[in-house]
């Protein structure tokens, strides 16, 4: 077997912070995302508490069991994502592909459930223009859904890289970055679920 010399990859380049640019960039991006969702959530809380026009639909209309199941699906997707990272760190490309595929499928399932929930709510008269709750509900879940969609694309790209054999134990930083983003999407839903469905 011939030895393969290392090839300098951009991720190998030393940085002044000691943190790879990709990782730092991802965290800075997520910090801006926190502010985006944070401002929406704080506006929701202020109006929910303060406005007499804020009418909350009943739990039955909100289909809490469906949303709870969807929350569980997103948590499962988070653990499969992190298992995909652990697999590639052990150079187990096949397992990584399996876990990453499961993560993508969970994301698609989550969006499909949202696709079921939305028309159900429209049928009950909860629309984006029906009141304050509807406006917030569709804005926040819609924005979150777009992030889920973005995560599915990101993970699909990583999966493609994995299938093409471009990922290994030494070249798995992209899996980690995709994971950080995906866990953030899960983290936002963990806050939105009780806020919009339970309280």
């Amino acid at each position: 077997m011939t030895s393969v010399p290392w090839i300098l990859d951009p991720s190998d380049e030393p940085t002044s912070t000691g943190v790879p640019h990709g990782k730092l960039g991802m965290w800075v991006f997520l910090a801006s995302e926190v502010m985006l969702f944070g401002s929406l959530i704080s506006s929701y809380i202020v109006l929910r508490i303060g406005s007499p026009l804020f009418i909350m639909p009943s739990h039955a209309d909100l289909s809490v069991p469906v949303a709870a199941a969807n929350t569980f699906v997103l948590i499962v997707s988070s653990v499969t994502m992190v298992l995909a990272l652990a697999a590639i760190q052990q150079d187990n490309r096949k397992a990584m592909i399996g876990y990453l595929t499961a993560t993508i499928l969970c994301g698609i399932f989550f969006l499909c459930v949202k696709g079921y929930e939305y028309p159900h709510k429209w049928h009950l008269g909860i629309t984006i223009s029906s009141g304050l709750f509807g406006s917030f509900y569709y804005t926040m879940t819609g924005l979150h859904g777009l992030h889920v969609l973005g995560g599915i694309f990101f993970n699909s790209y990583i999966l493609y890289q994995g299938v093409r054999g471009r990922l290994s134990a030494r070249r798995c930083e992209r899996v980690e970055y995709a994971g950080i983003y995906w866990h953030f999407v899960d983290l936002v839903w963990v806050v939105l679920f009780p806020l919009l469905y339970l309280l």
Partner: protein
């Protein structure tokens, strides 16, 4: 077979997720998953109980904070990150705190009995 090591290898290894032995980490990930699943069930179950609204908000809020912390610390590996990443997160939390302080008069005003 000889393996040539690059001088930047430690940083590359860190980039590739130097968060401990992956085999051991799998057990941690599964434990966190179990905790998140239980906490999600708990959030929904508590909501079915006949408790006062402030108590329900306090319980749901506390559970959400614990879940967020578990995801950030273990799944996003914040626990093993250095000062730069912590700095970014701290800045973001300070900004959120400022936001919370700014809206607190509105919330406090409602609870205190007056409305603009």
């Amino acid at each position: 077979m000889t393996t040539l090591r690059s001088p930047q290898e430690p940083q590359a290894a860190a980039a590739a997720g130097g968060h401990g032995d992956p085999k051991k980490m799998v057990r941690t990930y599964l434990a966190i998953f179990g905790a998140l699943a239980v906490l999600t069930f708990l959030t929904v179950w508590v909501n079915t109980l006949d408790v006062s609204r402030p108590v329900a908000i306090a319980i749901a809020g506390s559970i959400a904070i614990v879940k967020v912390a578990l995801i950030a610390m273990f799944f996003m590996h914040l626990k093993s990150e250095g000062r730069w990443i912590f700095g970014v997160v701290a800045l973001c939390l300070i900004a959120v705190l400022i936001l919370a302080v700014l809206i607190s008069p509105d919330i406090g005003g409602v609870f205190g009995g007056f409305r603009h």
